[in-house]
């Protein structure tokens, strides 16, 4: 076990109750016509792997992140790139976007967070073969600088206050297989490979190395042992088993909590899928949805190269998993719920896309690589992105809803970009234009919450947990910095509430464990809840 700087301990049994003020703003009048589908808006941003074509590793693509960078109240979107440049799109709240170009390339993961607690959001990017950078937006330009005290080149990242000092800490993971392929054994000379926690200090970061090796494509903070404290889960590619660490009073304790996991973990999302007040953990892998011979023939040569045969006691399966806490243990329910196969999957996330109170699953997928898929036309496994609609937590059915594009999706997130109370979908594909899928399904009411901790080093309350009651359902969401694959989350959380017009029994657990209760909030509003003590 590594020596600790972790907070390591459960929330105090008598958590302090703190007061709040709230400000509700009704959603904007819907300018767009109601329909039953999402409408695609293509953006000029084009993520490309290499000028001469995309090969493996570069074909893993680049991330995106959502956050109000310019402070105008609208969620902006930044799209990373590999051979091309990263672009920030400033949102005017009416589906109009103004690009801000940068010279940042070779970007993997992106997040928009307030790293230094100055009240302004920064863009954080991990890069191939380079140190992570932090970008400050000001007056139409972004200035990037190296992240202090961090020397390795990382792939996946996520942010959370992990030592209960109020400041946001970061967890980074390297992608050793790509590094070894490109730089040999001398890679990461100054920092080394593996999984690291970087604790925010007054003038920089203090690192703690949790292990020596990783192929980390995703990092999440589920409460694995249900002690009320967030733990660390790292999803690894290439047969390298996923890694988990529990927060304990003596430091980060390595555990293997799942008896069945994904083999090539591409993304992780943590969500209360069944409205039970307990999060499930969804991870994506590579498994064709259709198993017809044509599809299997397209997949077989690549899979024979990429996957190694596994033994019966190996917990890894080449398919999506949905870990559900049942009978005091995690059990994989993806196969039973028929969400185990969604193609060559990258970002997979839950969000209530039809505002019925149940979070639906959307997975973007597809693969393109000149070397690995040289036997296929366009060197591409071409498959539609997949939406699985959640039917009261009992079953999922695959629907189209205009979300079945066949581009090679990579990073993806869900966010309400035009204040209409409906989650839109943003995708940064590989060798394709970034796209926004505007949600025009006018079904059900919703509530969007923004938490605010003024004059606090974590002003957007990343790590907070919110529970509400509406339409007879108890729902729960976390405020997160990132989830899925290379995708930064906005700080606004969204609840679909069906036919309800008000939401009751709101309970907020702030990142430091303090609790606030609010009796009711009107539905169809964007409500900002500000902590006042």
């Amino acid at each position: 076990m590594a020596c600790s700087g972790a907070q390591n301990g459960a929330i105090s049994p008598a958590a302090p109750v703190v007061t709040t003020t709230s400000n509700s703003v009704p959603f904007s009048a819907q300018a767009t016509p109601c329909g039953t589908n999402f409408v695609r808006h293509e953006l000029p941003h084009l993520t490309i792997g290499e000028p001469a074509g995309t090969y493996v590793y570069a074909s893993n693509g680049s991330g995106l992140a959502v956050g109000d960078v310019d402070g105008d109240g609208n969620e902006d979107v930044v799209f990373g790139n590999i051979a091309g440049t990263t672009t920030l799109y400033l949102n005017d709240g009416q589906m109009h976007f103004t690009p801000v170009t940068t010279d940042l390339r070779d970007v993997r993961s992106l997040a928009i967070v307030d790293t230094d607690g100055d009240g302004k959001l920064e863009i954080v990017a991990t890069q191939r073969f380079r140190r992570p950078v932090i970008g400050q937006y000001s007056n139409g330009t972004i200035t990037f600088s190296d992240m202090p005290d961090v020397y390795s080149s990382f792939y996946a990242m996520n942010w959370q206050d992990l030592n209960a000092d109020g400041k946001l800490d970061a967890v980074f993971g390297t992608y050793d297989t790509e590094q070894l392929q490109n730089q040999g054994l001398i890679f990461n000379e100054r920092g080394g490979g593996g999984v690291f926690v970087y604790y925010r200090t007054s003038d920089g970061y203090r690192g703690e190395r949790l292990n020596q090796q990783a192929d980390a494509l995703a990092i999440a903070f589920p409460d694995i042992n249900h002690d009320g404290v967030k733990d660390i889960l790292v999803g690894n590619d290439f047969n390298r088993r996923d890694m988990a660490w529990l927060a304990s009073p003596t430091g980060w304790q390595s555990v293997e909590p799942f008896w069945q996991t994904t083999e090539n973990t591409m993304s992780i999302d943590v969500a209360d899928v069944f409205n039970t007040g307990t999060n499930a953990i969804f991870a994506t892998d590579m498994k064709p949805y259709d198993q017809d011979v044509k599809t299997m023939a397209e997949w077989l040569p690549a899979m024979k190269k990429l996957t190694r045969p596994l033994t019966a006691d190996d917990p890894q399966f080449t398919e999506n998993t949905l870990q559900v806490w049942q009978y005091n243990r995690w059990q994989n329910q993806a196969y039973n719920l028929q969400i185990d196969a969604s193609g060559w999957s990258w970002s997979g996330k839950f969000g209530d896309l039809d505002n019925d109170g149940w979070q639906d699953l959307y997975v973007v997928n597809g693969m393109v690589a000149k070397d690995l898929l040289s036997y296929l036309p366009k060197n591409q496994i071409d498959e539609p992105d997949m939406l699985f609609v959640n039917h009261a937590g009992q079953s999922f059915t695959r629907e189209d809803w205009g979300l079945s594009d066949s581009g090679s999706g990579r990073a993806m997130t869900m966010v309400d970009l035009n204040h209409d109370g409906r989650l839109d979908v943003v995708v940064n594909p590989m060798d394709g234009h970034a796209a926004i899928y505007e949600n025009q399904r006018c079904a059900g009411n919703s509530l969007e919450l923004r938490l605010s901790q003024p004059n606090h080093p974590n002003p957007t309350a990343i790590g907070a947990n919110v529970r509400i009651t509406a339409t007879g359902l108890n729902m729960m969401r976390d405020v997160r910095a990132a989830s899925g694959y290379l995708s930064g989350e906005g700080a606004t959380i969204h609840f679909g509430i069906g036919s309800a017009t008000t939401v009751s029994n709101i309970k907020i657990t702030w990142p430091d464990g303090a609790i606030s209760h609010i009796d009711s909030i009107p539905g169809n509003t964007l409500t900002t809840i500000t902590r006042t003590e």
Binding site: M296, L300, P301, P309, T311, A312, Y335, Y375
Partner: protein, 276 residues
């Protein structure tokens, strides 16, 4: 006998039936009644068995020191025992006729096939070998066309035996089981050939399509069909959740057990009839 194929088949069944009638009517007291254990009883061939073990073992050892694959070494040892067993089958044919010799060969072969699947199961679940390595004793025979050919052969022989007198509830159940098993392997073979065609069209003829799911088990046709998606059928333990190795282990456990029960039941009936 005339020359047409159908006439040859009819003549064969008539022959079988005559032998059966002859056995029932005229063999009591002359020939030792055939029992289930007779099928596996090689004591009378002990010289051939010992010679077979020595020669087979020697060949296996030579294969070992020449670094031939493990399955060739095992095949050498098994091949050494074939003369003894062939002599045994000829003896049964002489004493009990074609039907009994045919039954003997099927029971012995299916039992060995069942052991192959048991070994695969042990390799995978007990020894924790990966799928590709858990291929039984004669691992090279773990190929789609071998399974396909084998199961059709078992089905045809089973039909012959039922027509020839293997008639009891276990035999009928075995016949139904074999038909279903063969149907699955026919589906697997069809998918295998289609996949090879697709791979060849992609310019990847060297890639094998061995091991695709069939009707049953995890990712099988029943589990992934649009007709059953999101129904309880997709979650039936084993039926639509077991891995392919387990599915075929249970297919063969069922087939072997039913065949032995059917054989034992019929032989007991015959022996009772012949001693009355």
């Amino acid at each position: 006998m005339n020359g047409s194929f159908v006439e040859i088949i009819i003549e064969y069944f008539n022959h079988l039936f005559r032998i059966r009638q002859t056995q029932f009517a005229s063999t009591q007291g002359i020939v030792t009644p055939m029992r289930l254990r007779t099928i596996f009883d090689l004591r009378q061939e002990w010289i051939l068995v010992i010679l077979g073990v020595i020669v087979g073992g020697l060949l296996g050892f030579l294969a070992y020191i020449n670094k031939y694959p493990a399955w060739i070494q095992a095949a050498c040892v098994i091949a050494g025992l074939l003369p003894a067993y062939s002599k045994h089958v000829v003896d049964i044919y002489v004493k009990h006729g074609w039907w009994s010799a045919t039954l003997t060969m099927l029971v012995a072969a299916q039992s060995f096939h069942g052991v192959e699947h048991l070994v695969q199961w042990v390799q995978y679940h007990i020894l924790r070998w990966p799928f590709f390595k858990a291929s039984g004793i004669i691992s090279a025979a773990n190929a789609e066309w071998v399974h396909f050919g084998w199961n059709w052969m078992v089905l045809v022989i089973m039909i012959v035996l039922v027509i020839g007198g293997l008639r009891n509830p276990f035999a009928y159940l075995m016949l139904a089981w074999t038909i279903a098993h063969t149907a699955e392997h026919t589906y697997l073979m069809w998918r295998y050939l289609q996949a090879l065609q697709e791979l060849a069209a992609l310019g990847m003829p060297e890639v094998s399509a061995q091991g695709l799911p069939g009707f049953f088990g995890r990712d099988g046709w029943i589990a992934t069909s649009e007709a059953t998606r999101n129904s309880f059928v997709c979650r039936l333990p084993g039926f639509t959740t077991a891995v392919r190795l387990d599915v075929h282990f249970w297919w063969n456990v069922g087939e072997t057990v039913l065949l032995i029960l059917a054989t034992e039941t019929t032989l007991r009936q015959r022996n009772r009839t012949s001693t009355n």
